[in-house]
Symmetry: C2
Subunit: 248 residues, 2 copies
């Protein structure tokens, strides 16, 4: 209930009180194809934080980062994207990319986070879940953010932080079983690209990590902006062709 109030409050802050209507269209196989509603059109630049830890997967980090960063070329306001890590050291991705984080969890200069993105990492299903500093950061920032997005096994981290409680979600296809075992109370979907439930958007990840970001861009800025963002990345974006679930 507290999270719901927080979401409503923040949605009002973001969109100046402009609400939008959505409808649930869960089909037989628990997938949903919808057309977009009126865009929310935030009246400010949104701060988008990508949480990175050692072993972060490249694609799950940069696919949504690229889409959301490129909003600055397609909208009046757009988004400011940045990385945030537990400490100021270089983060080495799963594929060996060495990334200097923009902020640390405790940075005084860390901007308020409107969209919290949690890409998967090598240890998203095990030791990262025992990392209290990481889980606490995500719990606190996620509670205040207007949107929280996970890619691939980032859903485990969000679930551990309590941000999936009472919500429907998905994760990397071959980790669905483990996700259900680890968090048996959750309603988990498979065979969809992403699930949107309230402020939470969880995605299967991999090369499909563009989808939830394009979807968020579409609900925030409209279909034409999302299509333009897609073209910039050689994606013929059409939400009606994506298998996803929107939960009311």
């Amino acid at each position: 209930m507290k999270m719901f109030i927080s979401l409503v409050t923040l949605t009002f802050l973001l969109v100046g009180g402009c609400a939008t209507s959505t409808k649930k269209e869960n089909e037989d196989n628990a997938t949903s194809k919808k057309t977009s509603s009126k865009p929310l059109n935030p009246d400010k630049v949104l701060n988008v934080a990508f949480v990175i830890v050692d072993g972060v997967y490249n694609s799950e980090l940069v696919a949504p980062m690229d889409i959301l960063h490129h909003t600055v070329f397609h909208t009046d306001k757009g988004m400011k994207v940045f990385t945030v890590a537990p400490d100021p050291d270089i983060v080495t991705s799963f594929e060996g990319l060495k990334i200097l984080p923009d902020y640390t969890f405790s940075s005084d200069s860390l901007p308020p986070i409107d969209v919290l993105v949690v890409p998967s990492a090598e240890h998203s299903m095990d030791s990262d879940l025992e990392n209290e500093e990481l889980i606490t950061f995500i719990r606190e920032k996620g509670a205040r953010a207007a949107y929280v997005m996970s890619l691939c096994d980032g859903a485990f981290v969000l679930a551990k932080a309590g941000l999936v409680n009472g919500k429907e979600s998905t994760t990397f296809p071959s980790d669905i079983g483990r996700y259900r075992e680890t968090f048996p109370s959750l309603t988990v979907h498979e065979d969809v690209s992403f699930v949107h439930d309230g402020k939470l958007i969880t995605s299967v990840g991999g090369a499909k990590s563009y989808d939830p970001a394009l979807y968020l861009a579409e609900i925030l800025y409209g279909k034409e902006v999302a299509k333009g963002l897609g073209r910039g990345l050689v994606i013929d974006w059409d939400l009606s062709k994506i298998d996803y679930i929107k939960v009311d």
Copy 2:
């Protein structure tokens, strides 16, 4: 002719003299759909260098890096991927990711490069083409590599370095006109994901940057390896469904 000899020599080094047959299947619209031939099965770990400069585009860097890096989990030998930059400073990507390069152009420890990958960058079409250090590095390393791959506007850099001379290629869809104007002697294709001509593989880039890497993995390691690599990134890889050109 010198490059051709170099390619033949290096192909022998890579595959221990094992050759493979290919056939050209250019269709009406200059696209080609083929099934794969016998994999080359290199008998050593291949070193794959990703050339990064300020303004490098995230997706064009990491999509092929992820596919080629993950070969270590799907083959006996696989690939060693690393980044190489003009100097040891942090490289800031177009989207703001701060990347510490693994090597500099002049590193004594730079491994011999089997596969040279040139992702697009913000200035691939202008000032990067005037960067003699960059062009010289790519010309020299590209001449010795067994494969040279560009993503998006990386094709401009390869063409400037002379690595596209006499070969067919492609680049980012909306930059095709400029590519043809800048390099009027080249045979340029559009409406394909990538073009493979000899040692050269040029790709449209963006989210399609996975395709040329999966293709290279398929010709090197076989269809099942490529399909496995695809599954790891939630891609249902099927080369017969990709629009590409293979030039004999």
